[in-house]
Amino acid sequence: MKNPAMRLSGRDVRCVRGGREIFTDLSFSVQSGEALAVTGPNGAGKTSLLRVIAGLLALAGGTIDLEGGTGELTTAEQAHYLGHRDALKPALSVGENLAFWRDFLGGAPDHKQNALTAVGLDHIAHLPAAFLSAGQRRRLSMARLLAVRRPVWLLDEPTSALDAAGQSVFARLMQDHLENGGLIVAATHAPLGITTHDLWMGAQP
């Protein structure tokens, strides 16, 4: 199932957080099949930009538009946000954690097992999430992106804590997503393993 052609664009975006201006006059544009890698030094506002797009931070100025999406839904409602924190409950099992997000976000029932297999966690689906290592927790939150289809992926340092194998798995998943007409905005320090457009934030080097 291919997503219709979409374009996520921001014009003159300004972000103020705690009274401090994080960035201003930032413009960007990504369309279906493209990935935007947001790079820059710590504190440049990469995470803030993702949270602004996700609707988790108020827009202080400018506009963010998603063209070609489902009309009545907001950008946030058509997006996946993979933040620093994994949104997992240690008391629930791996499978239960994923099943909850699949049901809550409205994914198809059969996607859970496939998603777990894709990230290589299917053999420990019954174990409590408390037993997972940082990298495995990351893989489990990646599985969420697969269990529920959303055209826009907002990824904050997605490959941190992942080993080489995990990074290549994730690169393949992102590639599939792009080929299906999805689009990705990722804040990152490390190369993602896919072709990206770069958006540099902070002072010009």
């Binding site: 239960e96 909850f100 809550f104």
Partner: protein, 222 residues
């Protein structure tokens, strides 16, 4: 509907599993009520008179203290971001979380009431009246407390601040809850009037609570 059912299932599971604090509220309720006679003396006639008030105060504090983590836990692990972003209206999600919380933390208080009524020398009808008023009133406590829990996330503070914010809001519930229980015990005032008002308070907070909590969460995220 699946979304809300999933949320309720998750919250109940997390609360009941190891590490969850579902039954600590009841234990607190039990302890507070048992402590009272040491302060006022073991005079059974006096305890009988104070019984409904003691039970109500205990239930108020117990339901308030367990609310602390209602949104904070979700905020700390990042789940709250996803709840806010989802297609399910945040108000509904808040109401659902309140319902799940009430089921694991509020309902056990009502189940424990008869035992505590025994300790406070309340007779059967008085205990029943207190249990009934708690059943009608604790939803209001949970729902107004939820506003405080949402504010606590915004302010990155829980605990005592939450209590200071929410306790004044719960005064009406306390007044009519105790009034209805006393009316049933003494019998010189009608039970119906305060009890109806108590139900009305619960219904009103069912409307106000989720909206206020959702608004506070939306504007408080960063």
């Amino acid at each position: 509907m699946t979304a809300l059912a999933a949320l309720i299932r998750r919250d109940i599971r997390v609360a009941l599993r190891i590490g969850g604090g579902a039954l600590i509220g009841v234990l607190f309720f039990l302890t507070v009520v048992v402590l009272m006679p040491f302060a006022v003396g073991p005079d059974l006639a006096l305890l009988k008179r104070l019984g409904p008030a003691i039970l109500w105060l205990g239930a108020l504090l117990a339901s308030l203290l367990t609310l602390d983590r209602l949104f904070m836990a979700d905020h700390d692990d990042g789940s709250l971001d996803l709840l806010v972003m989802s297609r399910t209206p945040l108000e509904l999600a808040c109401a659902t979380k309140a319902l799940a919380h009430w089921l694991v933390a509020g309902l056990p208080l009502i189940v424990a009431t008869p035992v505590l009524g025994l300790l406070l020398n309340l007779d059967g009808s008085a205990t029943l009246a207190v249990a009934l008023t708690l059943l009608a009133g604790t939803p209001a406590l949970t729902l107004t407390g939820m506003i405080g829990a949402a504010l606590a996330v915004t302010l990155h503070r829980g605990g005592l601040l939450l209590a200071v914010l929410v306790l004044p809001l719960s005064i009406p519930v306390l007044i009519f809850g105790v009034a209805a229980s006393n009316a049933a015990t003494s019998g010189d005032t009608p039970f119906g009037t305060p009890f109806t008002i108590l139900c009305a308070l619960s219904l009103a907070s069912l409307v106000i609570g989720p909206f206020a909590a959702a608004a506070s969460l939306r504007h408080g995220l960063d």
